[in-house]
């Protein structure tokens, strides 16, 4: 119940922001009869309508994660964001090994298999993608070797 309502409210706010942003789209002098604003308005209208339905007739509550689990999802999110930021400066192998070990540990909390999975995936995927498939990956940070 609450989840649907919260989502509905968030989406209404976002849709209003979307409309506001659409009002500032500049049109050039040689535009078509519809112009670049109308379709976004229509889309935002549909979102608001659907949000209202969700507010008024919410589905039964979803199973939301317990605090511990929410923490775990947050940790997974942090790992993925960190990985996305580090893969360019740090090369492929080290961030991949760390990130896959971390995710592996979250699924099955045993340190040794997780570390092995990380090492194996970090090197194995590098060999697969770089050597076998020839994608342009950098193994280590520049200047290490």
């Amino acid at each position: 119940m609450a989840a649907d309502r919260i989502f509905g409210v968030v989406m209404i706010v976002l849709a209003l922001g979307y409309i506001l942003s659409a009002m500032n789209i500049q049109t050039s002098f040689m535009s078509d009869p519809v112009g670049p604003r109308v379709f976004p308005y229509m889309v935002a209208g549909v979102i608001i309508l659907c949000s209202l339905v969700m507010l008024l007739r919410p589905d039964p509550n979803a199973n939301w994660p317990a605090p511990m689990m929410a923490l775990k999802i947050g940790a997974a999110l942090t790992v993925l964001v960190g990985y996305a930021l580090l893969i360019r400066p740090m090369g492929f192998i080290i961030p991949t090994a760390i990130a896959s070990a971390a995710i592996s540990y979250m699924i099955s909390p045993r340190p040794v298999p997780a570390a092995l999975a990380g090492l194996g995936l970090g090197t194995g995927l590098f060999v697969l993608f770089k050597v076998v498939l020839g994608l342009g990956l950098v193994a280590f940070p520049r200047g290490w070797f």
Binding site: S21, I25, P33, L85, I107, S108
Partner: protein, 507 residues
Amino acid sequence: MDILSNLALGFSIALSPWTLFLALIGCFVGTIIGCLPGLGPSNGVALLIPISFSLGLDAISALVLLTSVYYGAMYGGRISSILLNIPGDEPAMMTTLDGYPMARQGRAGDALVISGVASFYGAVIATVGLMFLAPMLSRVAFQFGPAEYFALYMLAFCTLGGVGSNNQAKAAMAAAIGLGIAMIGLDKTTGMPRFTFGELHLMDGIDFLVAIVGLFAVAEVFHFIESHGKNSAIGVKLGKIRIPWGDLRKSQGAMARGTGIGFVAGILPGAGASLGSFLAYMAEKSVSKNRANFGKGAPEGVAAPEAGNNAAAGGALIPMLTLGVPGSGTTAVLLALLLTLNITPGPLLFTEKPDVVWSLIAALLIANIMLLVMNVPMVKVFVKILSVPSWVLLPGVTMVAFVGIYSLTGSSFDMLLMVAFGLLGWICRKLDIPTVPIILGILLGNAMEDNLRRAMVLSNGDWTYLFSSGISVALWTAAVLGFVAPMFLRRVLKKPPLPATESYDRD
């Protein structure tokens, strides 16, 4: 015969050693993807598009590789349904109903063979159907103007929302979110930036591959961590594989009916393979003489949904290729593939690029023969792969998702965006909001707006033009029906409950 000469052209391209090799790889990888729980045809193909694109494959090679993966995943889905009672992908859900009980009775091998043959039967007939129907439909599609295309997109969103989800408002919301995201970037007509907030990365819009990999693959990782991915140990022993001729003969009718129903369900926009296998199973259950055995390990109950979902996979290619409107999540992903390869599906595809279309069809036929060989005598290889533990598999999938996007765009911004889409996908799944309409919205949004605006240019701003031709009125009517009718039908057609894993596990 036009079709035969076209097909000969297709085979002349598709029978080269290189394409045969790609088809073999694709079938093998696809079957693995299909049988691994949590990875299905849509996220499997989504993961592989960026990689095959970075490999620099030409259009036909990439198409052969990834459609082989697509069909392979449709075949592979049944393996974990039968052995683990976990559908390898959504369309394989119905196969658990009789496949798992058969496996519990020590007939896992028989169930795998019957379902493999049924998959082959459904897929081949559907491919033949595709050869005949697609050129016909593309001739009709020639008469489509912008107003008709706009109505057609509405139809796709409405039926997808109506048939494919439990709550119309949420499905429509998802479609609108996707359309809203598609608006980001430069407006094609006026060249003005929209919703970019001065961010240079957003000028080109959001790459739909980033959204697809995020929503399908990364979201799965979050879901898996939360659901704790019950470690999938194989509960059923697989004996020597024999061919159960008797059961195959008995389930011939089931395969034929399943194929027909699945094929039609596949053609309908928005319905796709899940509905195909569902309807095929329900229909078979109501006409079969062996009715009492359904749910307890009836071979017909394995044959019908498998024939149905593979036939639907073939049928779903028809609207995707001829109209550019996908009918399901996986065909949406295949549409993304075509757009990445700079091939615009539509009626012109058949006249302007017959080599692409017909080599694709030839490749589908070849892939099916390879898959039959792989999935009947060699099924044990895949059963071995199923025992890869999830704590190796899931990190691997995540990393492949990142590698794909990284090698495609090389930007951290796009990888962060992918993670954000992953989170969105996880939240949507929690709230029971379908994600396929989001993808479809992102894919079709610009074309939909473009057609609306071109229609308005033609009519000089008169909105009634949208309903002015017979075809468009028919499409609008179908759209409204497709959105509204399921609300009433849902009460009549209840999904049967999954077989009781828990009670089996405890004994």
